[in-house]
Amino acid sequence: MKLGDVFSYAFSAIRLRKLRAGLTTLGVVIGIAAIVALLSISQGLQTTITDQLQSGFATDTLIVSPGSGGGIFSGVGGGIGSSGSDFSLVVTDTQVIDEIEGVVTSAAVIQEVGSVMSGDRTVTSLVVGVDFGVYSEIYGSTFVAESGEIPLNPDNDTVVVGKRVSDPWQNGTIVCSVDDAVEIVWANTTVRPPKNETQLVTVAAVLEEVGGLSLTGPSDSAVYIPISQAQSFFGTDECDRIVVKLASEDDSTIEAVSEAIEDAFSNQVSVTSATAVLDIISSVFSTIELFLAGIAAISLLVAGVGIMNIMIVSLMERTREIGILKALGMKSRTVLAIFISEAVIVGLLGAVFGVGLGWLLANVAARVFTGGGFAVAGEQGAVRGQFAITPVITPTVLLGALGFGIIVSVIFAIYPAWRASRLKPVEALRYE
């Protein structure tokens, strides 16, 4: 029997029981749709996050944070995954780093979570101490004033605020703008009992909106104070991290400078590059995607069991038919092929509709997320970003879903098909 005839015969059997075939296919549709929807949303989310990070990142920078092995996450956000080392970086360590070949300049960063008070309004923000001149050299594209001017040699009571500190609700309700006097509040927990330290300052500039999640660079939700002021305000010389600007963004430069910095501090610091952070995020998402795909795959397995069940029922109903086919000279392997073809057709139809439905669901879900103003707590404390997730469907996901749908259907059809092919013609013909 020709392959085309095998498929056409299998299709005629499926068409005979439209409702049953439809429901069996629906199982595959749901399984595939779940896989496609979850994967395309998580890939879309990854793309969004990566894009936003890249927009806030300078690829020619390195982040030096205290502690070995912890990487960037031990330096920022209050020591997530800190290695437990006693070593601290101090503000003057920038002098050591500036000596290293390949380094253009470096800036120490001291930060605490605090708030900005203006009249009766309070905005939670990060209070970040940096050298304005060096910092704007490093982040030439993001540490830029939208209004006012970033002073290169600022007075102690001068601050620069991020866009979300000036306009926290994005609705024109301005908490502070240039030349306004505001109070910076920081809860000092190093003393007993903790007490709020307050400082009256003047806003010299409001930054342009950075957008996205800024892991290391300028943040929309930060208020920047001069580094010397931060040292006295927070009562410490220890800095959270040192941001290093490199002469080049080559991998070789990144590697050489990273090693040189680690050597200079006897491996008591970790050096992280933007590329490394993106790699980490990418690997985190790979794990998440694998997990989500795994959950979705379970629903497809359930569909597979459904296929097997229905094929066994169909096998019993068609025992006599199989006997006739064998009496007419059909080989066992052709009977096997007919049953497998039925599963291939169900799997293919289910996969095609499943991909369509999954894509639809992903878009609906993305719209719901976007419309609902998806708030994300970022690494730097109170970072709020509005996400517009665009679901991404890669050819790998597309072909993978199609292939997976068919393969699962076929695997579960193998046993019923094998049983059908093994039927003895004389017994099958006698079957009522």
Binding site: M1, K2, D5, Y9, S12, A13, R15, L16, R320, E321, G323, I324, L325, K326, A327, L328, G329, M330, K331, S332, R333, T334, K424, P425, V426, L429
Partner: protein
Amino acid sequence: MVLATPVVETADLKKTYILGKVPVNALRGVNLKVEKGDFVAILGPSGSGKSTLLNMIGALDKPTEGKVFINGVDVSTLNDNQLADLRRSIGFVFQFFNLIPRLDAKGNVELPLSIAGLDKNERRKRAEELLETVGLKERMKHKPAELSGGERQRVAIARALANNPRFLLMDEPTGNIDSKTAKEIMGLVKRLNKDEGVTIIMITHDQHLATQAKKIVKMLDGSIIKEIDQL
């Protein structure tokens, strides 16, 4: 004079079934020879072993002892695939027609041709010819459920003839249709034998029907008790 190989030949054919724990000797040493162009009726009451014999001659089942030769080939030496190929040279006609309900008359006649690997045009042409031969040219787009018993059996005969079989093996071909239609069907069968030279082996319990054949083989309790030439 060189004798042609018999179409079907059995040698001391025995078949024993185990029903529960009791062995049942369905065939107890059957020797049968059917030559090309023969029209043989195997006559016997139910339980005489005629259906078991049909299964052996049709290569649907294997004997416990003895041999079945179809076109001179010993069936017991064939594997599953070879048996399937052999069945294509046998035209089965069943009592309950055994048509595929979802295929129309033409589709049913095309089925063995499709199994044999013929392409669509050849199949269509051959099926139309055959349906014309059995007098169903006008009904070929009808599904079995839309056909009468006699028409269904004609479709079954057309299907059995599709691959130019060496012989037609008919199991109570008129057992499920009224007597008038049965007569027409027998007329068709006899014409096929006489005009087209188709070898026919018919199994029946109907004495009257058996008299239509050229030769009657009477069976009882798994043995042939009498062979009557009607020429």
